[in-house]
Symmetry: C2
Subunit: 260 residues, 2 copies
């Protein structure tokens, strides 16, 4: 992974722009990755309110002016510089694409939302294993039975990411990630996936399944795919997201989001 980790955000974005379609976990170590949700201006207030009411899953890092194709924390082109995009029409996943330049409109507002990949380097540093990074696959994500607080026309379920953590390190994982509240922070749920309405942990709704070994506890963090689940439920006429796990690599350092 060394080369991927060492890529600057600019280099990684150039590779994605050139057509590389891969999950971004492990890329550009130390640089913050972000979820993307793009909505018509007409939905922008409701989305920002939805985010304010669901800060664990939707920590907003940046918002563009309508039509803008870059953001204050993202110097690249939001239409082409992520590895893959999802396009929603009336809440239906219409297509996955490598770029969305041809679909761009002057009324589209882009929201960059914090991503839990930000704290994975800190977990590794604390000697907490991160299974999907070890396995070189995408993080598993699940739609839960827990409802977000709605805002206007927007409602939907909480989506979570899951990392299996050895029981003796769960406390460390809580302590480390709670120091990053702007990128999902501490876990929202530890163990007992059935309480989140997850029927089969080996079949995530997004991303890839990972092995849970004996002595490991599934630990769940709020996930920035939650806005896309709200789009699917709430059916705005048009929306664009990142493909889950295929994030925007920003120009700000993870340390910006570290407290205390």
């Amino acid at each position: 992974m060394t080369q991927l980790r060492a890529m600057t955000p600019e280099q990684a974005r150039a590779a994605f722009r050139a057509g590389l379609r891969v999950p971004t976990s492990g890329y550009s170590a130390g640089w913050t990755q972000a979820n993307l949700i793009v909505l018509p201006r007409e939905y922008a207030y409701e989305f920002l309110l939805f985010a304010q009411r669901n800060p664990r899953s939707c920590p907003v890092l940046d918002v563009t002016e309508p039509g803008e194709t870059s953001a204050s924390i993202f110097a690249g082109d939001l239409r082409t510089d992520l590895p893959a995009y999802t396009v929603y029409r009336d809440g239906e996943l219409a297509e996955q694409r490598a770029e969305v330049a041809g679909l761009w409109r002057d009324d589209l507002v882009s929201f960059l939302v914090g991503c839990s990949f930000t704290f994975e380097a800190a977990l590794s540093e604390a000697e907490v294993p991160v299974r999907h990074v070890e396995a070189g696959c995408n993080v598993p994500m699940y739609r839960t039975s827990r409802e977000c607080r709605p805002a206007g026309r927007l409602s939907g379920p909480l989506v979570v990411s899951m990392r299996p953590i050895p029981a003796e390190l769960v406390s460390t994982a809580v302590r480390v990630t709670s120091r990053y509240p702007a990128v999902h922070g501490a876990p929202v749920h530890i163990g007992a996936p059935e309480e989140l309405g997850i029927q089969d942990i080996s079949r995530p709704d997004f991303g890839d399944a990972v092995a849970i070994r004996p002595g490991e506890i599934p630990v769940f963090w709020a996930c920035g795919v939650t806005p896309q689940a709200a789009v699917m439920r709430s059916k705005p006429p048009f929306a664009i997201g990142h493909a889950p796990g295929h994030m925007a690599i920003t120009d700000v350092r993870d340390s910006r989001f570290l407290v205390p």
Copy 2:
């Protein structure tokens, strides 16, 4: 102060509703206090965006639906249950009032914004003195020469609160308050008030002057009066705020905002 500290939010709000007009620092210990800014729905997106772009000064804790008179974290009546209000017309401070029930409109959206009073109990617990609490007066607040990031029609200067801290405790004050990022968090500036454009530290723009003793450093935190400074600069036709220092006492505990 014991009796004030022991009042429940409900008791304190009832006292304010009955006409008590005092700064709320020291009231209802452990219960979160909040700044209030009320704007027409037509300005709500721009304000929420302004807050997102200036999270140190404008950490939004709750947003009402248009016309609502209570909030999810504030069971009282937002029109009557703060000790004092400010009313702005076209950006001019039109009046200070004990209640604003007669001015309420169906299109008004209320924003509750985090307040640094929340971390004062933690400062005291860490044996960091809080001068304005000792003196029984309002915290001094200053308009600075530092500009907030604008959002649409809203722009304005950063407003800060100031607490004089003994030099050997400044580090402790940073450490303690950085654990409360949702209520202004760590200081934005330590010492050198002239660098913030503060000409005369003994003449605050809002609140009361406090003594800075030999060996003490003025420490500045971002302040939730910043939205009112933006109203003064940006001149929306109508706005309501709390009178500086005269906060909304909410029904949530300070510990909710503590990280890690």
